[in-house]
Structure formats: C-alpha cells, structure tokens
C-alpha cells in the first residue's frame, strides 16, 4: 500500500509536468507560430484596429441597448453577447417564459425590419443560441434585414445583397454544418464601403 502511494504521488507529479505543463505550453508555442491568425481568435480589423472576432457574436446596439438600424443584427443572446459569460437560456420546451419571449422577439423583429405579416420569420431570429455568442445568422434572416440596412445607409439593395453573399460561409464539403452569414464580417464590409 505504501509503495503504491509513493508511486501515485510520483505519477501525479510526473504527468502534471508532461501532460499538464509541457504538452499545452509547447503546442501553444507551435500554434502561435504556425497559425498566428487562428490561435489569436480570428480577429477582424476595421481602419487598422481590431474590432472583434469573426467567430464571436457581438451586439450592434446603441448605448441604451437599442439595435442600430444601419447594422445587421445577430441572434438574441442569453448573455447579452458578453464574451466572458457564455451560455444559453436553458429554458425547456414546455417553459411558458420561452414561448412569451419568442412571441415578443418575433413582434419586435417584424416591426424593426418592416416585415409583412404574411412573410414568415426564420426561427434563428427569435431564439437564443447555446453559447450566447453565436456569430452567425441564417441567409433568410440576413435577407429580411437587408432592406432596412440598405435604406438607412442609402445604398442600393443589390449592393447589400452582394455583401451578404460575400459574407456567407458555406458548409465544408457541402455537408458539414449549415450555410450561414457571418454578421461581423458583413457589418465590417458595410463600414468599409467608401
């Protein structure tokens, strides 16, 4: 028993050094050199300054939290797009508050984007994601927001739709994931327009 305990203490020490310190440190060094863009979080620049990560959702709202009409809006977030507090609402399928919140979000979306009553809203626009940091929206969601953004920025709708296509990420090999529009990439492209 005592011999096993001694071996146990030594083994915990040894494997902490090998797998807990050397393994992550060496690989982080390699990753920083081999994949500098990815390992740092795929940051996007605007006018020479990093404004966010193309992987991470952010809020396009004014100081009071109202959505800005000149920007495409990400999905509703349970964590208010707080980068340090990821998570979902965790409301179950039979939760009354989930239903009320979806109804309210649908009404707000319809009036903000002037969507006609007979046009269905894609459900990603009224549901919160698992991470609270979903960077993407569906193509249909982007298309419904396009007229509002185009009108506010005095741009032809076709111009905005071209940018949507340019910011659309297709599934790898055509099957891994869904086609989505990266909202930060799209908004940065809009702000880069002369």
């Amino acid at each position: 028993m005592r011999r096993q305990l001694v071996s146990a203490v030594l083994a915990v020490l040894l494997f902490t050094v090998v797998t807990g310190i050397l393994y992550p440190l060496v690989l982080t060094g390699v990753d920083r050199i081999a994949f500098p863009h990815q390992s740092a979080g795929s940051l996007l620049d605007l006018h020479g300054q990093p404004v966010g990560s193309s992987l991470m959702g952010q809020a396009f709202t004014d100081a009071k939290g109202h959505p800005l009409p000149g920007y495409f809006q990400t999905r509703p977030s349970a964590s208010s797009d707080n980068g340090m507090a990821s998570g979902g609402t965790n409301l179950g399928p039979s939760s009354p508050s989930l239903l009320t919140s979806e109804r309210d979000l649908a009404a707000a979306y319809r009036s903000f984007n002037h969507v006609a009553a007979d046009v269905p809203i894609p459900s990603d626009a009224v549901t919160t994601s698992g991470s609270g940091l979903d960077p993407d929206i569906s193509i249909a969601n982007a298309q419904l927001q396009a007229p509002r953004v185009a009108a506010y920025r005095h741009l032809p709708l076709s111009r905005v739709e071209t940018l949507i296509r340019a910011s659309t990420v297709q599934p790898a090999l055509g099957i891994l994931g869904e086609p989505v529009v990266d909202v930060l990439t799209l908004n940065v492209a809009l702000d880069r327009l002369p």
């Binding site: 797998t19 990821s86 039979s94 994601s129 869904e178």
Partner: protein, 570 residues
C-alpha cells in the same frame, strides 16, 4: 432531417469504420508491449517514466494491487487538484487574477475531473486560471482516460488468461497509454483544431472596442490542446461555460464533425482491441455491433426530434428547413451546426460519457432530451467512456450468457471461462450500484427543499433536470441540463459523492471479477457453449442492455421526458 444531415451521419460512420481497425489494433499492440512504432521517441520517454515512478515494467500485479494502485493514484489526484484550485490565486499563469473557488466547489471539481466525469458547477471563463485549466484539468483529462482504459485491459486479461494470478501492471499500462496513444493523438488533433480556428493563446482576456464603439472582452486560454484531449479522452469538461457550443472551442461545421469523431474514436476502437487481445476478432465485433446499434438508433432519434422543431411553434415563425432557412428547434443551438448535427454531437457525447455539449440539452424537445438521458442510463456502454464503456459492456455480456445459460439449463461460459456464483455476485453489484446511487440521490434531492430551489424549469421538465444531474454524475458522464444551479453546498457535495460511487464502487468489484476470472482455467468449447462472436449474440446483448435499463429507469422516464412529450402531443 435534410439530405445534408444524412450524408454527415454517413461520413461520420465511414471515417470511424476506417479508423477502428487501425486504432484498435495499435492499442492492442501498445498494451501487449509489442508495439515498436515510434520507439525512437517513445521508448526513452517510457523508461524515464518507469525510473521516475520507481516501477519495474516487467513486474505484474494481482487484482488487489492493481485496484490499490488505481485508488491510490486517484486519491492523490483528487487532493492535488483540490489544492491547485484553492491555491490558484498565488500560482502562475493567472492573468485575470482569478481567486480560489469555494472549498465545496473545489471538491466537486476535483472529484469530477479525476473520475472522468467533468461535471462543471463553475464557468470556466471567470472561475479558473489558465494554470488550473492546464496543470489541473488537462492532466486529469489524460490520466483519468488512461486509467479507465487500463481497468478495461485488466478485465480483458482476466478473460483471456488461464490460471493467472496477475492482471498486468497499472503503472505500466498508464504510462504506455499516455505516452504512446493519448499524447500523440492529442498533438495531431490540437494542430487540426487550431488550423481550423480553435484559439490557443496564453495572453489574458482581450478587451477591444467593437464596431459600434462599445467594448467586448474575448477570453483566452490554451484551448485547442485542452479541446483535443477533452474529446479524445471522453472527458468533456470545457474550458468555457458553453463548452463545445462556444465559438472559440468549436468554430465551424468541420470542427464540430472532427470533435464528434474524436470523442467516438477510442470508445469504438476498444472492442476491436478486445477482439485482438482475445485472439478472436469476432468476439470484439459482436460487442462493437451492440454498441454501434444502440448509438446509431438513439442518435438518429435525437436528430429527428430536433429537426422536427419545438413543440410550441410561434405564429409567423418558420422552423422548416430550406435553402436559406435553418430548420428545427434552434433554442440553445448554434446556427453554424444546425439542429440535426447538434443533436448528433450531444447524443454521441452522452453515449460516450464525454458529456461535452455543442447545444443546450435543457432546451431540447422532450424526446430529444429524453434520448440524451437514456444514453446515460444505459450505463455508458453505447459505446461508453474510454475503457469504462468496454468494461461495462463486457459485464453486460456476462449477464447475457448467464441469462442464456438459465434458459437452456447449462453453466454459462464466456471466452472459455465458467461464469459461476462468485462472478455473478460481483456482476450484480456492478449493475445495481449506479442506478441505486443515481435514483436515491435524485429522490433525496427532490424532497430536500433547498435543492428544489436550484431548478430552473418546473413540472415534468424539472424532474428531468434533477434526474439528469444525478444520472449524469453517477455514470461519470458530466453532461448537464444546464438549467440546474449546481453550485450550492448541497449539490457540490451530493454530486461529488455520486461521481465517486459511480467510478470506484464499480471499478473495485470489476477488478475483483477480473481477478476471479483470471484465476480460472479455460475450458474447451462444447456443443452446449453459447457462441458469443455471432450476430445473434450481438442482438441478445443489445436486448439485455435495453431491458436492464428499461426495468430500472422506465418509471422515471415516464414521469419526465415522456410525460412532457405527451403534454404536447396527445
């Protein structure tokens, strides 16, 4: 389910089918000590480890010594991990100056990572320093996985050896698995993940000014190295609160596929290893088939349930998939994965005791969430955690030959070993202990007033939330219906106990079983022997697994997910 999702499922099955013989065969050579591949690097590293541990690699252990080694190693690990958390404020690599978690939370987390459960009552972004995540969690991700495989291998040795008093050497198995299997595979996986967008940086949280002039803080950490072993070792403890739903852990459809593949790889390869070590591939194949049938059919169920959409569609909102609309129940899911592929990930993670999530199970449909719960109720055998899945399924194989033996009135045998009263007693303890712990703890928590306050949802869904927590921890899965607030004194202690019982109260009788089987002579097959390497046996094994789970858990499944489903669909 869209065509894309079928192709995705097919691609996953295909990549696994191609990998299993390679990885399973390699594992058998490594554990038999006959692998010479990479000896230039591995052999000196192994010798260094044996010298540091003071272990003679040729010395074998009886089952009692093997068990003592596992227990001693785990006890020292729990103490070390507890201290690492409590002292993280004064340890290095803590750029955000995170303080120590409470004693009860540190205890829960220490037990959780050592038992390969990885239940998390904290948010990784703000509660743990980079050093704790690395030296504490990554280390345990490696060694708890290796320990699980080691125990499974001890059971295989008990089954295939004749009149043997020893089962191998725990320290040697542990070292070989870490050095020759887990480290090289994790290094490869880390590079693939980083290249695909998973972050890996030790600079502190990064504050930046967004497009609108507001601020956002991006978290950091050695994420891709942790992510690799988190999936490969079926651990599942995420560096961030949202786990694999977080875009920095799982940035796109490819990484989602790759992580899903990683977490299934070793659990599905180990039955192949078993077949090779037993010298009869068909024996491994029948066990593998039973695991695969259960995983495939339940995963398909979850994919269907989530693609079909939520129970209460809101007027004017569409959940129907089209070229531009992402269909299905999207609450708690990321659009880049979509509903079906998210469900496949979560189903795989609950079936393998990984417990990582790329979408929030609490917001699944009643049946989708029910599938996740059922996967864990199988006792983590479809295909289960690394090692634990295989030994769990081998125990069920013993139950199957026993039941078949009763039906024809013969002494049951498995791989030429007679299964007698002593073995069946140990099997019974193994089978009963986990459901007993899970259901007793859940029942107790439901009548404990302060524990009920931790539930976010109520009614049938609240019951599922509570049962899910204890089924998950006592089966050492770690997946969470995250609505439950587990960071209370009661839950930290109770869930910690459930995890300890689920891991060690099963490993000890299991190693005793291995010892008892190893000491027996191998009897030649006769006309009365039930062949166990056949499709028929795979069906019998699947049936026994389902019936045992059904009889044990059906009442609580009826009051939880099934009741919730029928509230909507009568």
């Amino acid at each position: 389910m869209a065509t894309r999702d079928w192709l995705y499922l097919g691609a996953l099955v295909l990549t696994l089918a191609v990998s299993i013989p390679f990885v399973g065969g390699y594992l058998a050579r490594v554990l038999g000590g006959t692998s010479r591949r990479g000896d230039v690097v591995f052999a000196p590293l192994e010798r260094l480890c044996y010298r540091a541990l003071g272990v003679d690699p040729r010395a074998e252990q009886r089952w009692t010594t093997y068990a003592t080694s596992v227990l001693a190693f785990s006890a020292v690990s729990v103490i070390t991990l507890y201290l690492l958390q409590r002292l993280q404020g004064v340890l290095p690599l803590n750029p955000a100056h995170v303080g120590a978690p409470s004693p009860s939370l540190s205890w829960n987390t220490a037990v959780s990572f050592v038992t390969n459960t990885n239940w998390q009552n904290y948010s990784g972004e703000t509660a743990m320093s980079y050093f704790t995540q690395m030296a504490g969690f990554i280390t345990q991700n490696f060694v708890s996985a290796a320990a699980g495989i080691a125990v499974a291998v001890a059971l295989i040795r008990g089954l295939v050896r004749s009149r043997s008093t020893t089962l191998g050497n725990f320290w040697v198995d542990l070292t070989r698995l870490v050095v020759r299997v887990l480290l090289p595979l994790s290094i490869l996986a880390t590079l693939v993940l980083t290249a695909s967008g998973v972050i890996d940086t030790l600079t502190g949280p990064h504050l930046l000014h967004t497009v609108t002039g507001a601020t956002q803080t991006l978290p950091g950490g050695a994420i891709s190295p942790q992510e690799a072993i988190k999936e490969l070792g079926t651990n599942g403890g995420g560096p961030y609160n949202a786990n694999s739903a977080h875009p920095f852990e799982n940035p796109n459809g490819f990484t989602n596929f790759f992580e899903n593949y990683l977490l299934l790889l070793l659990p599905f390869s180990l039955p192949w290893t078993f077949g090779v070590m037993a010298g009869r591939r068909r024996q491994g194949a029948s066990v593998l088939a039973a695991m695969a049938v259960l995983w495939f059919s339940l995963s398909l169920g979850a994919m269907y349930a989530e693609s079909a959409g939520s129970h209460l569609p809101v007027a004017g909102v569409t959940q129907h998939s089209s070229a531009t609309v992402i269909g299905g129940n999207l609450t708690g899911k990321e659009v880049r994965f979509g509903a079906a592929q998210s469900a496949l990930f979560n189903s795989s993670a609950t079936a393998t005791s990984t417990g990582s999530v790329d979408s929030m199970g609490d917001s699944y449909t009643a049946l989708g969430g029910g599938v996740l719960l059922t996967n864990m109720m199988f006792g983590e055998v479809s295909p289960g955690g690394v090692g634990s899945g295989l030994y769990g399924m081998l125990v069920l194989a013993l139950v199957s030959v026993f039941i078949a033996g009763l039906m024809v009135g013969r002494t049951p045998e498995y791989l030429g070993k007679k299964i007698q009263a002593a073995e069946m007693k140990l099997v019974a303890i193994y089978i009963l202990i986990v459901p007993f712990a899970a259901l007793s703890f859940a029942a107790f928590a439901l009548i404990w007033p302060s524990a009920r306050e931790s539930l976010l949802n109520h009614g049938a869904h609240g019951l599922t939330e509570m049962v899910y927590a204890f089924v998950s921890t006592s089966n050492n899965n770690g997946s969470a219906f995250a609505g439950l607030n587990g960071n209370t004194g009661f839950f930290n202690v109770a869930l910690g106990l459930a995890m300890l019982i689920g891991r060690f109260a099963t490993i000890v009788p299991l190693l005793a079983l291995a010892g008892s089987l190893g000491a027996k002579p191998r009897v030649p097959e006769s006309a009365g022997t039930l062949p166990t390497g056949t499709p028929l046996f795979a069906i019998l094994l699947t049936g026994v697994t389902v019936i045992i789970v059904g009889l044990t858990y059906f009442p609580v499944l009826a009051l939880g997910p099934l009741l919730e489903h029928f509230i909507f669909h009568v």
